[in-house]
Symmetry: C2
Subunit: 765 residues, 2 copies
C-alpha cells in the first residue's frame, strides 16, 4: 500500500522521478555483490526477489496492531503474551525457537508526586489522558506512571533551579551568575544530551532531585501540529526513559559482565557502577509551565529559551517544589525470544539479527515498527526454507526484551554467550524504531561498501529511486546548507567524486552495544526515518493509531526495512567470502585521526582567543553591570601530542587493506571450498582485534573497542577513537598519550589480521 499523496503533489513535484531517475536505476546493469563470486551474485538477487515476493505490508500492519494493543513494558502481562506470540510465530515459520529468560531488579514506579509550593501552589497532573481519536490511548490500565528507570527513591523538597539541558556547560553558565544547585531541585528540559546525564550531573553538582520536561520547542507545537491534529507531542505527553548510567556498562547493574540468569550472583547496587542517588521525574509541558513561571532570578541566555510563552528564568529563588518517587525494585523477568535456522555449509558461522520488543507503553514506533519488519523477514526466510532452500550460514533471530531500561535483554544474552559468539558470529544486524524517510546506517566501517551495495538494491517507495540514491541526495542537499559543517562538506565532495556514502560510527542506545563494544562483532544498525512526525517518543501516545497516521501509513517503510535487513542477512548468510572492504575502515580511521588533530587545533585557538580577550580586558569591558556575569575561565592550551604512532598504524592498515581489497576484487571465480572456509574463519575474528582487553579507562573496562564507544558524558552519542578522544576532550594528556599507543597497537593488530587473510586469499587463487 502506498500512502495517499496530497492533492498538490502532482502540481508541484516534477514528474522526473518516475522517468529519468527510476529508469536509469532499472536499466543499469547490476554490479557484482561484494563477497559473491562467479554467478553467485545473480542467484543471490533471485533469492532476494523470492524473499521480497512474500513480504506483505498488511501482515506487518496487523502484527503491529496486535503487539501494541496493550502496554508491554518489561514485566507486564502483555509483554509476556507478546513473547509467547512471537515464539509461536517463529515456530510456525519453521525456526528452531525458544525463550531465554533473564532476571533483573528493574525499578517500576509505585508512587510519583510533584507539587509546587508557595503562593501559587500547583499539583502536577503526571497523567496522560485518553484522546478520543486514538482508541489505544484509553486502554492503559496496565501502563506505568511516567518515570525514569533507575532514579532513586526519595521524598525531597527544595527550591527550584532551571538548568537548561542540564549538561556540563549549563552548570558553568549558572556558576557565572553565582547560582549553584546544592540542596536544590533542578528542572531540565529534554534534548541536546542524553536523558540520564541530566540527573547524574545534577547529583554531581549537589542537587537533591531532578525534573525533566519536554519543552514544546523540542518535539511539541513549535515543531508541528500536536496529536491528534498532527503527530507532535501534546501538552500532557511525557517522555519516559531510563536513567541507568550505562557509561560504565549496560545491562543489569547487579551482574556486571556476566549474565543475570535466575540464580546468578548479584552484587548490591552500592557496589555496582555509579547509580543515581536522587529522585528523578519526567513531566509534560503542561506540568512544567507553572513551575517555570514561578521562577525568578536571572533571565536565561538566548540558547536556553524554549517555546513556552513565558520568560525563562534560572530561578534560585523562593519557588519551592516537593518531589516524591517510590519504586518497586523486585526482580522482573526478561524474555528474549531466540530463533535459529541452521546453516547448510557453515553452521558454526552465525548471522545474528535483533530488534527489541518491549515498549514504554504501547511502543508502536519504538520498538514494534522495527520488530514487525524483523518478523516479516523471519516469515519470508521461513517460507524460503520450507521450499528446501537453506542459508549457508546459521541465522539467529532475536526479539529482545527490556532494551528500554538498560539494554538488558541483549546485553545479558551477549554476556551469557560471549565465548560462542566470539568464535562464531560474523555479524550483528540491529534495528529499532522505523518510519518514513531516509536511510539511517551505522556500524563497522569494513561493512560500509556492503551497506552501499545493499541499499542500492532497495527501492524507496516514495521516489522509486534506490534508498542509497535518496540517501546520497540527502547528504548532498544537507551539505549545501549555509550552516553545513566542514565534515558534511568533506563528505559531499567525496560523493561528487563517486565515492560511497559513509556510514555512521555507533555509540549506544540500542541493542548493538554489547555486540560491538564488548565483544567486537562486525555490527550494523539500519533503519529509515526523518519524515514521520515523531513527537510522542516514549509516551502513551506512541500507539498504533499515531504510527499509522503519522509515521508510516500502510507500513510501507516497514516492508522496505524488512527488504533491507532481510537482504543483508541473506547476503551475509550466503556470501562466498564475508563481505568486508577494509580500505573503507582505513580511510575512516584516517578521518578520525585528522579529526583529533583538528580538535586540538580548535582547542588551542579557543584557548588563545579566550586569553587574549581576558588579557586585554575585552570580556570585562563588555559586561553589563546590571546583569552580573563572572568572567569565563581561562583555557589551558593543549600541549603537543604526538600522533605519529596512530598515523603510522593507519598507514599500515591502509596498505594491508588495499592488498586484501585488491585481491578480493580481482577474484572472479569461486574459491575451493576448504580454502574459502579457512579464509572466512580468518575474517570472522578480525573486528575483535580492535578490542583492548583492559578496556577504556576511568572504570569503563566493559567497553573494549578502541575505534568506537559511547562517551562517558555523551549518553548514546559516539566517540570515535574513544580512548584518545575522551582523554583529549577532558584534557587528561597522559591518558591521551597512553591510549594513542594502545589504539595504534590495535590498528596494527587489525592490519596484521588482514594480512593473514590476504595470504589465504592468495593461496586460494
Amino acid at each position: 500500500m502506498t500512502p495517499r499523496l496530497p492533492r498538490r503533489l502532482g502540481l508541484l513535484l516534477p514528474g522526473l522521478l518516475a522517468s529519468s531517475v527510476a529508469l536509469a536505476q532499472q536499466h543499469a546493469a547490476k554490479p557484482p555483490i561484494l563477497g559473491f563470486l562467479g554467478d553467485h551474485g545473480t542467484a543471490q538477487r533471485q533469492l532476494e526477489a523470492s524473499f521480497d515476493a512474500s513480504l506483505d505490508a498488511r501482515e506487518l500492519d496487523a502484527w503491529l496492531k496486535q503487539l501494541s494493543s496493550e502496554p508491554n513494558h518489561v514485566g507486564s502481562p502483555h509483554n509476556k503474551a507478546n513473547a509467547e506470540w512471537v515464539l509461536r510465530q517463529f515456530k510456525d515459520w519453521g525456526w528452531d525457537a525458544h525463550i531465554e529468560t533473564f532476571w533483573a531488579a528493574i525499578p517500576q514506579p509505585l508512587e510519583v508526586q510533584l507539587q509546587l509550593l508557595g503562593p501559587h501552589p500547583y499539583i502536577a497532573r503526571l497523567h496522560e489522558p485518553a484522546i478520543p481519536e486514538d482508541p489505544n490511548s484509553s486502554q492503559h490500565a496496565d501502563a506505568l506512571a511516567p518515570y525514569i528507570a533507575y532514579g532513586a527513591d526519595g521524598d525531597v523538597s527544595g527550591s527550584l533551579v532551571y538548568v537548561n539541558y542540564g549538561l556540563q556547560d549549563d552548570y558553568k553558565e549558572l556558576a557565572r551568575r553565582g547560582i549553584d544547585v546544592k540542596g536544590k531541585i533542578v528542572i531540565a528540559r529534554y534534548g541536546s544530551g542524553w536523558r540520564g546525564l541530566k540527573p547524574q550531573l545534577a547529583q554531581d553538582h549537589g542537587a537533591i532531585g531532578t525534573i525533566i520536561y519536554s519543552d514544546p520547542a523540542d518535539d511539541g507545537y513549535a515543531r508541528g501540529d500536536v496529536y491528534p491534529r498532527g503527530g507532535y507531542r501534546p501538552e500532557d505527553a511525557v517522555q519516559r526513559g531510563t536513567g541507568a548510567i550505562f557509561a560504565y556498562y549496560p545491562g543489569d547493574p547487579q551482574t556486571p559482565g556476566y549474565a543475570s540468569t535466575k540464580g546468578a550472583r548479584r552484587i548490591p547496587f552500592e557496589q555496582a557502577s555509579p547509580q543515581l542517588k536522587i529522585p528523578v521525574i519526567p513531566i509534560s509541558y503542561a506540568d512544567a509551565t507553572p513551575l517555570l513561571k514561578a521562577l525568578d532570578g536571572p533571565v536565561v541566555p538566548a540558547s536556553w529559551r524554549g517555546a513556552l510563552p513565558i520568560t525563562y528564568h534560572m530561578g534560585d529563588s523562593d519557588a519551592q517544589v516537593h518531589l516524591r518517587v517510590k519504586s518497586d525494585w523486585s526482580l522482573k523477568p526478561v524474555y528474549d525470544v531466540i530463533a535459529t535456522l541452521r546453516g547448510s555449509d557453515y553452521p558454526d558461522e552465525w548471522v545474528v539479527r535483533g530488534n527489541h520488543r518491549d515498549g514504554w507503553v504501547f511502543g508502536a514506533a519504538d520498538p514494534l515498527s522495527g520488530q514487525v519488519a524483523l518478523l516479516a523477514e523471519a516469515k519470508a526466510i521461513g517460507a524460503l526454507a520450507k521450499t528446501g532452500w537453506k542459508p549457508r550460514r546459521t541465522l539467529v533471530y532475536a526479539s529482545w526484551d527490556s532494551e528500554e531500561v538498560d539494554l538488558i535483554g541483549s546485553t545479558e544474552w551477549v554476556e551469557a554467550h560471549a565465548d560462542e559468539l566470539s568464535r562464531k558470529a560474523v555479524l550483528y544486524l540491529n534495528s529499532d524504531g522505523n518510519s518514513r524517510g531516509f536511510l539511517r546506517a551505522g556500524g563497522s566501517h569494513s561493512l560500509q561498501h556492503f551497506v552501499n551495495q545493499l541499499t542500492a538494491d532497495v527501492t524507496d517507495p516514495e521516489t522509486q529511486a534506490s534508498m542509497a540514491q535518496r540517501h546520497r541526495a540527502k547528504l548532498l542537499v544537507d551539505a549545501s546548507a549555509a550552516n553545513a559543517k566542514p565534515a558534511d562538506k568533506r563528505t559531499a565532495g567525496r560523493l561528487r567524486k563517486g565515492d560511497d556514502f559513509p556510514i555512521d560510527a555507533l555509540g549506544s542506545g540500542s541493542d548493538f552495544a554489547a555486540f560491538t563494544q564488548h565483544i567486537g562483532l562486525p555490527t550494523l544498525a539500519l533503519s529509515y526515518g526523518g519524515e514521520g512526525e515523531g513527537g510522542v517518543y516514549h509516551s502513551l501516545y506512541d500507539s498504533y493509531t499515531h504510527y499509522t497516521r503519522f509515521a508510516d501509513p500502510g507500513l510501507v517503510y516497514g516492508v522496505t526495512l524488512a527488504q533491507t535487513n532481510g537482504h543483508g542477512v541473506l547476503r551475509f548468510a550466503n556470501a562466498d567470502v564475508l563481505p568486508h572492504r577494509y580500505g573503507d575502515l582505513a580511510d575512516t580511521l584516517q578521518d578520525y585521526v585528522d579529526d583529533l588533530r583538528q580538535l586540538l587545533e580548535t582547542q588551542r585557538k579557543q584557548a588563545a582567543t579566550r586569553s587574549e580577550l581576558l588579557d586585554d580586558h575585552s570580556l570585562a569591558l563588555v559586561a553589563d553591570p546590571r546583569q552580573p556575569l563572572a568572567l569565563p575561565e581561562r583555557i589551558v592550551p593543549a600541549p603537543e601530542l604526538d600522533f605519529t604512532p596512530l598515523q603510522q598504524a593507519v598507514n599500515q592498515l591502509k596498505q594491508s587493506a588495499k592488498a586484501y581489497d585488491d585481491a578480493l576484487a580481482a577474484r572472479k571465480t569461486p574459491l575451493p571450498n576448504a580454502q574459502a572456509a579457512r579464509l572466512n574463519k580468518a575474517l570472522q575474528p578480525i573486528e575483535q582485534t580492535a578490542l583492548y582487553r583492559p578496556g577504556l579507562p576511568n572504570g569503563r573496562d566493559w567497553y573494549k573497542h578502541l575505534f568506537y564507544a559511547n562517551g562517558l558524558y555523551t549518553g548514546y552519542g559516539v566517540k570515535t577513537l574513544p580512548g584518545v578522544t575522551e582523554a583529549v576532550e577532558s584534557e587528561r594528556w597522559d591518558e591521551a598519550r597512553r591510549y594513542i599507543g594502545y589504539t595504534a597497537e590495535r590498528i596494527r593488530a587489525y592490519a596484521q589480521a588482514i594480512d593473514k587473510a590476504t595470504k589465504l586469499l592468495a593461496l586460494a587463487s
Copy 2:
C-alpha cells in the same frame, strides 16, 4: 548619578576595571587631536572640560519628564508646546533661535478596525491599556490609535495568509507551496526587514491588505520580562510606524526635492513616488494570536516560527478577516526649531547638529532621550558663550519635527536650504534614541579617525574605560563568537594590529538622510545603546517611567551622549583644519570593492550548487511527498564584471589620501590664517564630489551619493557603492557596468579634490 548596581556585582566582576584599565587610560599622554595644530589641542581639551562641568544629569531627567509628559506626535498640542518650550530654552541659553514651519499632508487615523470572521470570530482590541505602575500610560487622551502612516484608506475582507517577515524570499517559499496572496490579506511579523516593505511587497504580490504584528520572539517575553516586570513588549503593545516608501525620496511625498512650505506647489499623491494602495494595520501579539491560530495550510518552515505557543501555519484557508482603515489626510504643521550661534572666525562654515523631537506617543526613548542630550549640549555651549568664548565656526542646532512619518522636518529643511548648506556646512551630526551600553557610530569614513579620537576621550560610566575602548572590546568579543561573520573577523584582526575601529556606513531611518545622500555633507550619527531593555519601541509604553527604569536610569548615558556629541561639535567648530583623514575612506572603499567581488563569487557558487542539486535530482529526491514543495528555481550565474575601473579609482584615491594625510600629520604648527581659510574652503565640498547628479537609477534620482544609500528594498539598511551593489544583487548587469563607471568617476573626482587640498596645505608650509 550612577545607576545602582545589583548586589552580586561586587562578587562577580573582578575589580580590574577601576584599576588597570581606567588607570592606564588616565595616565596615558593625550594624543594630539586631528585638525588641531600647535597647542590648540590642549586648549580644546580644556574647553571640553569646562563644557562637561556644566552638564547635569538631573536636568536631562527633568527635561525628559517634561517633554514626554503627553503624546507629542506631529500635529498634537503637546508637539507644538514642546517646540515652543525648546525654542524658549535655546533663547534663554543665548542662542539665536526660531521655529521654521513646513506643512505636509500627514495621514492620521480616524477609524481602525480588524475582525476575524468565521466559526471563532474575534474583534481585535487595538488598544494599549494603562499600566498602574506607569503613571504616563494613563495620560493618553491625545494618543493616536495604533496605525501605519501612509497606509491607504480601505475596507477589505479576505482570507488570511501568514507571510513570515513579508519579504521577497518569504513569497518564494509560499510559491513553492502553491500559495499566492492575490486578493487576500497577509499577516506579517515585525523584524528582519523594514516595516514599510511588508505592505509594499504584499501589494506587489496582489494582496488587498496587510497586518503587521509584534511577535514575542522579536521583543516580547522571549527576550525578557515584559513591562512592567521587565522592559520588554507586553502583550497589548503595538509598534506604530511609517509605511512611507522613502526608497525614492524621503520627506513630504507631495513636494519631491523641494521644501513643503505653506504655499508650496503640491503634486497629487498619484504623481508622487510609489504609494501604498492597500490598508495596513499594526497589531499586538495578543490580537495576533487568535488570527494565527485560525490558520491552517502548510506548517511553516523552522525559520518562520515565532514565540507564540501555537503551531504556525501559512494559511490560505477559510480564515477570513475584515480590515478597515480611514485616515485624516489634512495638512499638518511641522515645527523645526533652529538655533544658531555665530562663529567668530568662520561664520560661513556651519556645524549642524540635530535630533528629532516628535514621538509616536510619549516618545521618551525615541526620540526624546537624544533630544535632551542635544539640549544639554546647547545649554552648556550657551553657558560657555556667556563667558565670552565663541566657536570659531557657526553652530546650527536643530530640533526636528515629524521625523517619524517620513523624515519630514529634516528633509524639508535641507531642501529649503540646500544651496546654502552645500556652500557652508562642514558637518551634520545626528542622534536619535539613546540608552545604556555601547557606542553606535556611523557616517562618512573620512571622519572615522575623528570618531575614534572623540570617543577615546569620553569615559564609559559603567566601566570607567573610554567609550572607544569599550567599543573595541565589543567588536573583539563579537568576532570571537562561533557564528561571527568573516567581515567581523577581518575587523578584529585589524583591531589587534592597533587600527582604528571602523564606523558604519549610513543608510536611512533618521534625520541624516537628506544631509548625507541628497546633498553630500560629511555626516556622523553617534549614540549609545545595547544594554537597555527596548521592547516598547513605538508603543504607548515608551514612557519616562519605562525609560528611567530600563533604558538609562538617572540619564547617565544621556550625559555621556551630550559629552560625545558636544565635544564633536566643538572640535569641528574650532579645528584649525577640518578633521578628515581620507586614507580611512580609501581603505573602506577598497573593502567595498572586495565585498562586491565576494558577492559575485558567492552568487556563482550558489548558482553552481543549485544547478548540481537540480541536475542530479538530489533536490527532487529529498522532497517529502506528504509535504509538497516545488523545486527551487535555477540561479543564472553572474557574468564576468570588470571592476578594474573601480579598483583603479580606489588606487588613485589611496595615493591622493596618503599624500594629504601625511602632509597634515607632518604639520605641527598653526597655518597662516588666510591659507588655513583657503584650505578649509577646499575641504568643505570634498564629500560632495561623491554625488552623481542624475542620482541612482530606477526612479531614485533624489539619492545622489554613490558611496552610501539605503537600498530599494532594504528600508533603513545601507547599500555601499549602491549603484553597483544593487544592480549586481538584482542581476541587472548593464546597469552594474554603467554604475561601475559612474562610481569610479566619482572616486577619481574625490581624489582630485583631495589633491587640490594637498597643494594648499603644501603652500601653507
